[in-house]
């Protein structure tokens, strides 16, 4: 579990320059900036078609202080595997090879290559910055778009009626060493997770919730606030799954109604109070499910859950039995 830091733990070094082409308030730009701080300069990125294939800047410019290898939409995981193999053979030691893709390039068109890389447990870090639609092409629905959202292909009068695809569960099912979520509004947590993931051998998957003010139809100043609300309303739980054991990294004491998150964004403006309640129900059920998974996977692994006395004693029993 990423420790909640007592003081600022974010490295001051910048590996992303000013002059990038992101929109005002772009969550994906902030996500990259923080991820790079954790990764440092011994890193290469490979990026499929997504906002970041534009944000980095046109030829001959680049905003990153590390190499960025562009690749076709469905291909970023395989590209990272090839780069990792090549760099190792070239004698480049300890390079972090990062596949950096949007939610469409991950959950939709890129899922086959992602699944292949995960099943092989190739030594790469896959980071999906999730803004819940095809934002680069003008806000079309992806399988990561949540229930109820407007997009240009799910107009308000016919909004998306299917829930967001759960990539975390899919990646957990691949039995890889590290699966986690982060949010660009919680940079300490994000930086700690990237720093942890980069030192794990094998396939690491991190999904960073990243706002898109134009696509979410909200003012740029709500970029951080909206993502903070997503975590605090439990819409986007911060969690880690290591070797199948779930840890929810942030458990908001106060239950903030989901409506506060939804009302900030124009993409949910067409929804009724009843529909807000419907979404609240989905969020609550998912939270309960995660609490159950956290508890049960700790029990099965014989690992005590922080703040859970029953699990702690069960853990001791298991240890004693094993001894």
């Amino acid at each position: 579990m990423a420790e909640v830091p007592k003081k600022l733990t974010i490295p001051p070094e910048e590996h992303m320059c000013a002059g990038h082409l992101a929109c005002q308030g772009c969550g994906a730009a902030l996500a990259m900036r923080y991820a790079l701080k954790a990764l440092g300069p011994n890193t290469v990125f490979t990026v499929p078609a997504c906002c970041w294939s534009v944000i980095d800047g046109p030829f001959p410019y680049t905003t990153l202080g590390v190499p960025l290898f562009h690749i076709a939409f469905e291909a970023v995981a395989a590209s990272a595997c090839g780069l990792a193999a090549g760099l190792e053979i070239m004698g480049k030691k300890g390079v972090n090879v990062v596949a950096w893709a949007g939610d469409g390039g991950t959950a939709d068109i890129g899922i086959q290559a992602l699944s292949g890389a995960a099943e092989r447990n190739d030594n790469i870090l896959y980071i999906c910055y999730d803004n819940e639609a095809y934002m680069n092409t003008g806000v079309q629905r992806s399988s990561s778009t949540p229930w109820g959202a407007w997009t240009t292909t799910t107009p308000a009068r016919h909004f998306k009626k299917r829930p967001k695809k759960d990539l975390v569960d899919i990646m957990v099912a691949h039995h890889i060493p590290y699966v986690a979520t982060a949010a660009m509004a919680f940079p300490e947590d994000l930086v700690a997770k990237v720093a942890k993931a980069k030192d794990i051998e094998g396939m690491k998957y991190l999904q960073i919730f990243a706002s898109c003010p134009p696509g979410w139809r909200m003012a740029p100043e709500y970029s951080v606030k909206s993502v903070r609300l997503a975590v605090n309303t439990r819409v986007w739980p911060l969690l880690e799954v290591e070797h199948g054991v779930y840890n929810i990294n942030r458990k908001p004491r106060k239950r903030t109604p989901v409506a506060e998150y939804l009302k900030l964004q124009g993409r949910f403006a067409h929804l009724t109070e009843e529909q807000f309640e419907e979404i609240q129900g989905m969020v609550d059920r998912n939270w309960e499910r995660l609490l159950f998974l956290e508890k049960s996977t700790h029990e099965m692994a014989g690992v005590p859950l922080k703040g859970d006395k029953a699990a702690a004693s069960k853990g001791k029993e298991t240890e004693a039995a094993a001894g």
Binding site: F59, H70, A75, S79, I89
Partner: protein, 382 residues
């Protein structure tokens, strides 16, 4: 040292002896024995390479692209549907100027499902910026792959060595394998420039506007033209080493030939027998094998064909609604030249239907008739 091996195992041996450092491939009939053999080589430690066993041909090509961008020598093999699935990233490899080498086992495209040979799969990739070499024998496969690595790494374009399903892939023939030291002298380790390297950060393949894109294509075209000179130099060097001199356009008994059969792949071998038979009967028949399809040996074709009475092009492929693809290429090379002979197209052998000596003799005979149509489907059943 001579060994009797199948075409597929020859491919695997060439990747091993050529010291491919990253291999990434996905199984498809009739290529499977290539991936099986390379898996064995790597597992047994007699091939010092990483084999990335991907979940699709698309990822196979992309993994090769990634590894090649990091600076290593890469190799893959596929066939038909697999090559078609790679199509998007075949462009990517060429446009990124990465010297990936691929063996394609020619198999006809479905539906209906078929596993037998024709050239439509590889010829559909004509305009991706890949060099293409059509092998006549298993020896051609082996030599072609080693030559391809060397040429590709010099001109920074990827290269495809193409062999026919079953006729070559599953047929065992004696192949002369040079000693490893000899191969190493001919093909030293790749020296890559502009690699993806954290010590030299750069963006590769980022958004490029009309101000720059056009010139990049001009450079790519020039690289393909330059490849012709490089191929001639490298094949000379390879010939000096092995005694086997490859020609982009390779004539057989053409000196005084009135009719020339233009062929490619294993059919070129059958054509030699047909030519011998016709010669024995007093006919002035010759054959011309196109080994390099891209770059296309236009000058050589002109030199060899201008002034002939006729050329009969045997195409194991078809551009629907047009004609065979080699036929179009030959016509384009000869168009408007003094002494350009009539070029008569014959489609034959699609989907693996055998092309025998007697078929080639029948084609030559049909071409010699005054009223021979410009384009013909040979041997269509009523």
């Amino acid at each position: 040292m001579k060994q009797v091996v199948t075409g597929n195992h020859t491919v695997a041996h060439a990747a091993r002896v050529g010291r491919a450092q990253v291999v990434s491939a996905y199984p498809i009939t009739p290529q499977t024995q290539v991936v099986e053999k390379i898996s064995e080589f790597v597992a047994d430690g007699i091939m010092d390479a990483k084999f990335i066993k991907v979940e699709s041909e698309h990822s196979a090509m992309v993994a090769c692209i990634g590894a090649s961008a990091a600076g290593v020598r890469t190799f893959t093999a596929t066939s038909a549907q697999g090559l078609a699935l790679m199509h998007e990233v075949l462009h990517w490899a060429a446009n990124a100027r990465l010297p990936v080498v691929l063996a394609n086992i020619n198999r006809a495209m479905g539906p209906p499902w078929t596993i037998w040979t024709d050239q439509i799969d590889s010829l559909s990739e004509r305009d991706t910026g890949w060099m293409q070499f059509y092998a006549e024998s298993n020896q051609d496969i082996f030599d072609g792959i080693l030559i391809s690595f060397k040429v590709a790494e010099q001109v920074l374009l990827p290269a495809m060595v193409i062999l026919e399903a079953f006729f070559l892939s599953h047929t065992a023939e004696p192949v002369d394998f040079p000693e490893q030291e000899e191969v190493d002298r001919f093909l030293p380790p790749r020296v890559a420039t502009h690699t993806v390297d954290p010590e030299h950060p750069a963006a590769f393949g980022g958004l490029t506007g009309p101000d720059h894109y056009y010139e990049l294509k001009y450079m790519e075209h020039n690289a393909m033209l330059e490849a012709e000179e490089v191929i001639k130099r490298v094949t000379q060097e390879y010939g000096d080493l092995t005694g086997r001199y490859y020609k982009m356009a390779d004539p057989y008994r053409c000196e005084d030939a009135e009719t020339v059969l233009l062929v490619s792949g294993g059919v070129a071998s059958t054509a030699k027998d047909a030519v011998d038979e016709a010669r024995a009967a007093g006919k002035k028949l010759g054959s011309l094998k196109i080994w390099a399809f891209r770059p296309f040996p236009r000058e050589d074709v002109r030199e060899l064909l201008l002034g002939r009475k006729r050329v009969a092009v045997v195409d194991r492929n078809i551009s629907f609604g047009q004609e065979g693809i080699f036929c179009t290429e030959v016509k384009a090379s000869l168009y408007g030249r003094d002494g350009a002979p009539p070029v008569l197209g014959f489609v034959a052998g699609l989907g693996g239907r055998d092309i025998k000596v007697r078929d080639l003799l029948a084609i030559a005979e049909a071409a010699e008739k005054d009223d021979c149509p410009e384009f013909n489907w040979y041997g269509v059943k009523p």
